[in-house]
């Protein structure tokens, strides 16, 4: 019973995803690229960086990168916390 339910939901998600993939715009022809064209045209002038991806990562979307660094920090702190040295009464 439970397995059947899981199977049905799996098939549902599958159909959902395939429809999404099929109804996306054609591959290789992005329609609206104003934001990305701005990056390509101005990264060298505004961020003085040849690598546009780095300019996006650290300049235009620097706050995302702070969040990303934070995620990694959280994972490191979490793993260190899981393997920390325990006290006697905590074994």
């Amino acid at each position: 019973m439970k397995r059947a339910l899981v199977l049905v939901s799996f098939l549902f998600v599958g159909a959902f995803l395939l429809v999404a993939a099929a109804s996306l715009r054609p591959f290789g022809e992005p329609a609206l690229t104003a934001m990305d064209d701005h990056f390509l045209a101005n990264a060298q002038r505004e961020a003085a960086a040849n690598n546009v991806v780095t300019a996006v990562v650290f300049d235009y979307r620097g706050f995302d990168t702070l969040g990303e660094a934070t995620v990694l920090f959280a994972a490191v702190v979490g793993v260190l916390a899981l393997f920390r040295r325990l006290q006697e009464d905590e074994r």
């Binding site: 899981v6 799996f10 998600v13 599958g14 995803l17 395939l18 999404a20 993939a21 099929a22 996306l24 054609p26 591959f27 290789g28 022809e29 992005p30 690229t33 934001m35 990305d36 990056f39 390509l40 990264a43 060298q44 040849n50 690598n51 546009v52 991806v53 300019a55 996006v56 990562v57 979307r61 995302d64 990168t65 969040g67 990303e68 995620v71 990694l72 959280a74 994972a75 490191v76 979490g78 793993v79 899981l82 393997f83």
Partner: protein
Amino acid sequence: MNLGNMPFVAAALLILLGIYAVLFKRNLIKIVLGISLVETGVNLLLVTLGYRTDGIAPIFTLAPRAGPMVLPTPQALTLTSIVIGLATTALLLSFVVWIHRHYGTLDVRKIKELRG
């Protein structure tokens, strides 16, 4: 459905494979692998979204020719999401280590003290 969309469909299939593993596998490690597969599929979708036909990498250092460049934003997003995937996988595997230590097994059917 046009065949030009096959890269998106491939990414969707990868996501589905991952979800299949999460739902139907009984070994915790395999579930972690399934989650990683879903992450990879989503990342693949993001990158394919940024492709422009005949585009070159968006880097000006010694660029081979002055042609159209692929979109840089999806690459930046993918970079972020790869690091996030790494972080989740590390934490999940740490939990797996502890679960193995406590329960002596990785079989989800035997790890069910939390019910109801």
